[in-house]
């Protein structure tokens, strides 16, 4: 058995850092859940859209390096870079989606995976984006305040992250619940049957894919401004797989599950990394991480929550039965 390492302390700074990570991955996974969980499109390249958003925001911010952090101009560039990041990744989503959404299942997964790699390699070979080195993203929204700087910056980003996540969740939920929400679900259930009932399946798929890409871009914007420097290595395939893992772990088609799974996965990762359980467990972290995932998938094959949503607790509408 292990003993808790005495030297580790759960400082507020550490907790805030973990929560920022949870918000980031919840955003990424929720956007992928719209594509995969609700839309039925298997994408392994979501990190590509994340990268496009991050670099779009980072590049724009780097042009404004001389702007006083925390000034009105700083905030304006901060906001404008969000719009730019979302637009860039949505455009990338459309570019990839139009030709690739004709592909099904495994083939779509391979095509999106290739897209993710292409994005990374293009960035690596673009000097204006820092090439394979880091692109520095100047701080735009914080006035340096000596030692308290780090803490207040992190708190600010926790608020920004929660707000951005809330926007993503509300928009996705409204789409899924909308009059056409059931049509989206029908496309996932059986595309041919949906088409034969008059559902314009391609339009729905492209729309969901582009919106998912746009939200991944928003997550990229958040990440770029938070870390202050981004590199191609931050957007490799493992990131895409981790996003997919959170979606599957939380339950395809459950936003509540996505947030919960992001919290569990990111929290677990950071706890093991922190060494709070001692050096032995830290060393075997990757193994433990994998084991926990295997266990969850064995015990909860439909993810932690399946298709359950928090709102289901409060809603007792007479509804058609649904397979558990």
């Amino acid at each position: 058995m292990w003993t808790l390492a005495a030297e580790f302390q759960f400082s507020w700074l550490w907790v805030a850092e973990v929560l920022v990570g949870v918000a980031l991955y919840a955003m990424l996974a929720a956007s992928l859940n719209l594509v995969t969980g609700f839309g039925g499109m298997f994408s392994l390249g979501h990190h590509g859209f994340f990268a496009v958003g991050a670099y779009a925001a980072g590049w724009m911010a780097s042009l404004a390096a001389s702007v006083e952090p925390g000034s009105a101009a700083g905030w304006a560039v901060f906001a404008a870079s969000a719009v730019f990041a979302v637009a860039a990744s949505a455009a990338a989503g459309l570019l990839v989606g139009l030709p690739c959404l004709r592909l099904r299942g495994d083939y779509l997964a391979i095509a999106t995976l290739a897209f993710g790699e292409i994005v990374r390699i293009v960035i690596q070979n673009t000097p204006a984006l820092g090439g394979s080195l880091e692109l520095n993203v100047p701080r735009l929204v914080m006035r340096p305040r000596g030692l308290a700087e780090v803490e207040s910056f992190r708190e600010l980003f926790l608020v920004v992250g929660v707000a951005a996540l809330a926007v993503v969740l509300v928009v996705i939920r409204n789409i899924v619940r909308s009059a056409h929400g059931r049509a989206v679900v029908s496309v996932r259930e059986d595309e041919i049957a949906s088409e034969l009932l008059g559902v314009p399946t391609t339009r729905y798929k492209v729309r969901a894919f582009v919106l998912g890409a746009a939200f991944a871009g928003l997550a990229g914007w958040y990440y770029a401004h938070y870390t202050g420097s981004i590199a191609p290595a931050n957007f490799d395939m493992l990131v895409g797989i981790k996003i997919l893992l959170i979606v599957v772990l939380g339950g395809l088609g459950s936003l509540t599950g996505t947030v919960l799974a992001a919290a569990v996965l990111v929290g677990l990762e950071r706890l093991l990394q922190s060494g709070v359980f001692g050096e032995d467990l830290k060393r075997w972290m990757q193994v433990e991480y994998a084991l926990i995932l295997i266990l969850v998938m064995l015990l909860r094959p439909h993810g932690l929550l399946g298709r359950f949503e928090l709102g289901d607790l409060f809603r007792r509408r007479a509804r058609g039965g649904r397979a558990a």
Binding site: R182, S186, I192, L196, L197, G198, G320
Partner: protein, 236 residues
């Protein structure tokens, strides 16, 4: 209502239809019979827009629809119940039926259609809250047809409604098909392996052989035809 002329359909290099011509008039039940691979399902797919014809024409109410995507044809009054039923197994019977009314505007209209379809298939009313996957094969077929009827189609395409069903259920399904034709006035194009039952239900029939129309006649005449009897009805 439906006129198909010289229809050629190919999947890549494989030509499935070599110039099929057929017709379905308002209010008719027309059946396509033939062996596996004769091109029956392909004909339906080309009519409903699931595959684009390489050559030839498909006209619905006098307007060319060859190559128009399937989802647009639903609004023009066409419904296709595909092979293997393809119901949404994870959704309830009610949700399945409501999706069938995707092109229907207005809650009241949808409710009226639902009531009508449940009157046609009372067994679906009993199972309304059950998930589609828990239905028996026959009930699933009823659900597939009922779902298509939600859009109040004028032309209904049915692909192998008897597939995998017990004989008793097959007869029940065919009674319902005849009833839909009679009571709703729906024109029906029926693809079926069970040639005897199909010809007994239909007004006219076409016999397809390797992508061509081999015979076309009134259904009773085909039932008596020596060639059809020998090849498709198991008579010697």
């Amino acid at each position: 209502m439906l006129v198909v002329e010289d229809l050629v359909v190919a999947y890549g290099a494989v030509v499935a239809l070599h110039g099929v011509s057929l017709e379905a008039k308002q209010g008719e039940i027309v059946t396509l019979i033939g062996a596996n691979g004769a091109g029956k399902s392909t004909t339906l797919r080309a009519v409903s827009g699931m595959v684009a014809p390489r050559r030839g024409s498909v006209r619905l109410d006098g307007r060319e629809v060859g190559g128009v995507p399937a989802h647009r044809l639903v609004r023009r009054g066409l419904a296709h119940v595909p092979e293997g039923r393809r119901i949404f197994t994870g959704l309830s019977v009610r949700e399945n039926l409501e999706l069938g009314a995707y092109t229907v505007r207005g809650r009241a209209e949808v409710a009226a259609r639902l009531e009508r379809v449940l009157a046609l298939f009372p067994r679906l009313a009993e199972r309304i809250a059950q998930s589609g996957g828990t239905l028996s094969g026959g009930e699933q077929q009823m659900l597939a047809i009922g779902r298509a009827m939600m859009a109040r189609p004028r032309l209904l395409l049915l692909d192998e409604p008897s597939l995998g069903l017990a004989p008793l259920l097959v007869r029940e399904i065919f009674r319902e098909i005849a009833r839909i034709n009679r009571e709703e006035g729906t024109t029906i194009l029926l693809v079926e392996q069970n040639a005897h039952l199909a010809l007994s239900t239909a007004h006219r029939g076409y016999v397809l052989e390797t992508g061509r129309v081999a015979l076309a006649d009134a259904a009773p005449a085909l039932l008596e035809s020596p060639r059809v009897r020998a090849a498709y009805l198991g008579a010697t």
